[in-house]
């Protein structure tokens, strides 16, 4: 299907208003039996028509997973996860393409409706044949392409043709396995090896979908690429796998945002994202993460164990992670950069908000291998309610990192006095010429600041938002414009009722 759509702001759907995505769609599902074993992995691989090498790769990862155990060093607590009680595969049933929206499963359309997806785009997402050739919508912002992941299978991918003209590949990873097997085989697992850690191994064994991006030599991707994820089926773990490659001199900006339906059972989410930047390439990866955080008492909510890593393989290459984390009951996430190419640059800009009983243990790793590599870390943690917010960051200067530099700024903001903020920096330098700078602050929203704002007519909540947004400004300004606006709204929603 040639999917053509007017670009729109995909994140609007994901971040607007209060947490309103607490719905679940009762679409006919094809669900694998509960539990994880080699047969299930064979089933997943067969369902996706995968080549033999990938099945072997999965099975190796599964073997590695069985050898490791859950990491216990993070400052998060949760009841033990029964990995055998989860389903590892669920797919919306495929029917032949509907002829019009009238033939599309009304439940699916209702889901799009709740997500705020424009009518015309719903047709494309639902796979209506011929959708996309019709009218142009001036109300939708140009320049964004979406790859929507609906449960485990990408329902549709938009904007492929414009991208194809530029030589950019942007498609579900399962499709990339079929269409571009050499590229996938060359790069998959080259940044996050299948046995890297417990959750990465799990992901490697059972990943069902995710995005694949390839920007060839010298190409600036003509639009921002975007995916939003949704968890839909009850008890279905989500194991997305994203692989982004920017060849020499290429550049790309990728946006990831997600929402999840409200429910009472904890849900496991273990994604892997791998980025590869060759000489002079730039990858900017922005995330607004809004998984269901659990209710005010801490019931329900997503467990989010993510491995994100970028390899700056080429000289002067640059990888920049920007994240706004407001969701999930538990966040375990350390987007990292391996600065291998001489003069390569790694950046990490993060806002992590926790409220109620949320727990976040997040940060970054900057591994300086090459000479004159540079990294910048700006991490802002905001804790409210009874939540716990930990920044954990590693800066490692290897022997050949002559003249390497790191600057780290970690700021924590506390709202109320029952929450916790923790900063755990690890600094290792094996090169005397390398320089590492670390600054950290912890502050509280002062009553005087709130009163000052309120005396100018701002409500208590607007005052908190203004102060919080001010605190996060250095990170928010790294987000693409429209994303930043939505992120601000999301911060407001996440902290609703946290003061007073």
């Amino acid at each position: 299907m040639s999917a053509f759509a007017e670009p729109r702001d995909p994140i609007q759907a994901a971040t607007e208003g209060r947490y309103k995505w607490g719905f679940e769609t009762a679409i006919e599902m094809e669900i694998a039996p509960k539990g994880l074993n080699e047969d299930i992995i064979r089933l997943i691989s067969a369902k996706k028509d995968e080549p033999e090498w990938l099945l072997a790769w999965r099975l190796k990862a599964f073997a590695a997973w069985r050898e490791t155990s859950e990491p216990d060093w993070a400052k998060v607590k949760h009841p033990p996860i029964d990995y055998q009680a989860l389903h590892y595969y669920a797919a919306p049933k495929r029917k032949p393409g509907p002829k019009s929206l009238a033939e599309v499963d009304p439940e699916l359309l209702a889901t799009y409706e709740k997500l705020g997806i424009p009518l015309r785009e719903r047709a494309i997402l639902a796979g209506v044949e011929g959708a996309g050739a019709a009218e142009v919508r001036p109300d939708i912002a140009p320049g964004v392409a979406i790859d929507a992941v609906f449960d485990s299978v990408s329902v549709a991918t938009t904007f492929r043709e414009t991208l194809a003209k530029a030589g950019v590949i942007f498609c579900p990873i399962s499709e990339a396995v079929r269409e571009h097997p050499d590229l996938v085989r060359r790069y998959l697992g080259s940044v996050v090896p299948p046995g890297d850690n417990f959750f990465a191994a799990l992901n490697s064994a059972v990943f069902t979908d995710g995005s694949f991006v390839f920007v060839p030599k010298g190409v600036r991707c003509p639009m921002e690429l975007s995916t939003y994820f949704r968890i839909n089926a009850r008890n279905t773990g989500q194991f997305e796998r994203t692989l982004i490659i920017a060849e020499a001199g290429a550049s790309v900006s990728y946006l990831e945002g997600c929402t999840a339906p409200q429910r009472d059972e904890n849900q496991l989410h273990a994604a892997v994202v791998e980025l590869v930047a060759l000489d002079d390439a730039t990858i900017k990866y922005s995330t607004v993460q809004n998984w269901y955080p659990g209710d005010a008492e801490g019931r329900g909510g997503i467990y989010n164990f993510v491995t994100k890593r970028g390899a700056c393989r080429g000289a002067r290459s640059k990888i920049s992670w920007t994240q706004v984390e407001t969701g999930s009951a538990i966040t375990w996430k350390y987007p990292s950069c391996i600065l291998q190419g001489e003069g390569s640059v790694g950046e990490f800009y993060s806002v992590a908000v926790t409220n109620h009983h949320q727990q976040a243990d997040t940060g970054t790793k900057m591994i300086h291998l090459g000479a004159n590599t540079k990294s910048t870390i700006i991490a802002k943690g905001i804790s409210a309610g009874r939540s716990n917010n930990t920044y954990r960051g590693l800066v490692r200067m290897m022997p050949r990192a002559q003249g390497a530099r790191n600057f780290t700024q970690c700021d924590s903001l506390l709202i109320g006095d029952r929450c916790g903020a923790h900063t755990v920096p690890y600094i290792e330098s094996r090169n005397p010429s390398a320089r590492v700078e670390h600054e950290a602050t912890t502050s509280k929203i002062a009553d005087d600041q709130l009163f000052y704002c309120r005396s100018r007519g701002l409500s208590q909540e607007d005052a908190v938002n203004l102060i919080v947004n001010g605190f996060c400004k250095d990170v928010l300004k790294e987000l693409p414009m429209e994303f930043a606006v939505e992120a601000q709204k999301l911060l407001a929603v996440s902290l609703e009722g946290s003061v007073g």
Binding site: D447, F451, S455, R456, G457
Partner: protein, 259 residues
């Protein structure tokens, strides 16, 4: 019209205001003078609705509305403005954004349309020009890294933009150079008119040379000890509180003093 009747308040059980009676009719500007620690800022904070005070008696009405039952933001949109003695810093919050948010909150409450960034900038630039302030004041973060005088001017800028019907200026003249003093006084005088009244707290006659008050009140030891015309301020400037017998009286004289 602002009416304060028998207002008494304490902090942590310690009485600070001990029965204040003060009426500022609409259209008038009154000055409050008084020794350090006499309760001037406490009075202005209580009028603006800051938490942490126990109001133990009395009432305050602005044009008949009972102020003490309103939240600070409700008082603000009802037309009350306090220029802080010590303006508060808001890191990362742009002055323009802050001012526009505040103005739009007020406009919403008045049933007026909100201003977009362009409309606001036009209005703010004009206000800056009137106060001889540089445009870059709008780009900076609220009060962060401002000099003492700049903070005071920023308060007056906010007042000029919000156009309150009742303003309290708590030592807005302290820290201002001579030119700035005139400009700030000009800012207040521009607002003066039949729909505006103000309470100007100051230690110095020089401000009152530029903002000539209709009445002057002396607050000491939590009470208004004397009220008079502009000549009372001049007499105080010449002789001091002690010579006029306007030291604090009562149980905590020693604590307050008349330095």
């Amino acid at each position: 019209m602002l009416e304060i009747r028998g207002l008494a308040a304490s902090i942590d059980g310690k009485p600070i205001l001990k029965g204040i009676d003060l009426v500022v009719p609409t259209g008038e500007v009154h000055a409050i003078m008084g020794p350090n620690g006499s309760g001037k800022s406490t009075l202005s904070y209580i009028l603006a609705g800051r938490e942490g005070y126990d109001v133990t008696g009395g009432e305050v009405r602005l044009d008949g509305v009972d102020l003490l039952t309103l939240a600070p933001e409700e008082r603000a949109v009802a037309g009350l403005f306090l220029a802080f003695q010590y303006p508060v810093e808001l890191p990362g919050v742009g002055n323009a954004n802050f001012l526009r948010t505040a103005l739009n909150a007020t406009r919403r409450a008045r049933g007026e349309s909100e201003l977009d960034a362009v409309q606001f900038l036009k209005l703010a630039r004009a206000a800056l020009r009137d106060l001889a302030m540089a445009d870059d004041m709008l780009k900076r973060n609220v009060n962060v890294g401002f000099s003492g005088g700049e903070k005071k001017r920023n308060e007056v800028l906010q007042m000029a933009i919000l156009k309150p019907k009742f303003a309290i200026l708590d030592e807005t003249d302290s820290g201002l150079d001579i030119d700035a003093l005139k400009i700030v006084a000009g800012g207040v005088n521009t607002l003066r008119g039949p729909g505006f009244s103000a309470l100007v707290i100051t230690h110095y006659q020089r401000l009152l040379d530029h903002i000539v008050p209709d009445r002057v009140h002396v607050l000491a030891g939590g009470r208004i000890l004397r009220s008079g015309g502009p000549e009372l301020a001049r007499a105080l400037e010449e002789s001091g509180y002690a010579a006029l017998g306007l030291e604090a009286v009562g149980e905590d004289v020693a604590a307050i003093g008349a330095s």
